[in-house]
Subunit: 102 residues, 3 copies
């Protein structure tokens, strides 16, 4: 089922974004970049499933909305947002890191 | 109604997360921790309502999806994400606080 | 269609919040404020559409939930959350800016 696929990939991505934040907090920016890329790959998978559904809908297919699908889309969109913020926090931690090294 | 319950608890949690951010911005990290715990308690209440619905659905119950329920789940999931970020911002503010004290 | 209207305004707002974060990262806090206000204006438009629907529902109108509407509400709520966080990041960048100027 598409919803479970979206939840699984989004859940993976979310865990990896948190690992990226752990790394940047410790000043390991290369590891953080690698983790953020890994999270992005998982998000692309989840996003593709959602886009397929939206395109089916646009072509006129009736798509039954069940609570699990609402939940899946919430998972995906909040994790995409979390990743965007982690990218910004990386810049914040870089600036803090430079100040600490002074 | 379950949706209103979720919105109420999520709305409470959101306001308290903002109070936590106010506290950490001022360097009051113990107050921030207390507020974040208080927000977490409210989120647990809201999350339980959502999980109950998802489990009913998993058991085969048809759950009518109305716009207020979509809105309630959005409230919950974005507030949970906001709280995760507030936890990270607490670490950021602690580092800034240490730099300011130098 | 209401959903497309919400997605368009939320998408605009999201792009502008990212421009605001670019500006604050460079220490341009007045530009960041202007961008955040611009994003807020777009979000108010999107939010009004969602509120109209919720009020119609509250008055008893049956509102058909399609996948595009779920997606639209996700767009709006995650972008509102992103904007709240950008406001907090502005305070973070201000503190970092002050430390850098020391």
């Amino acid at each position: 089922m598409v919803a479970f696929n979206i939840i699984m990939h989004s859940g993976n991505a979310r865990a990896i974004v948190h690992e990226a934040m752990d790394a940047m907090r410790e000043g390991n920016f290369e590891e953080a970049d690698a983790k953020l890329q890994e999270a992005e790959d998982a998000l692309v998978e989840a996003h593709k499933s959602q886009t397929d559904l939206l395109q089916e809908f646009a072509r006129g297919t009736d798509i039954l909305i069940q609570i699990i699908m609402v939940h899946a889309q919430d998972h995906l969109m909040t994790t995409m947002t979390l990743k965007e913020i982690a990218l910004e926090l990386k810049e914040v931690y870089k600036k803090i890191n430079a100040l600490e090294a002074k």
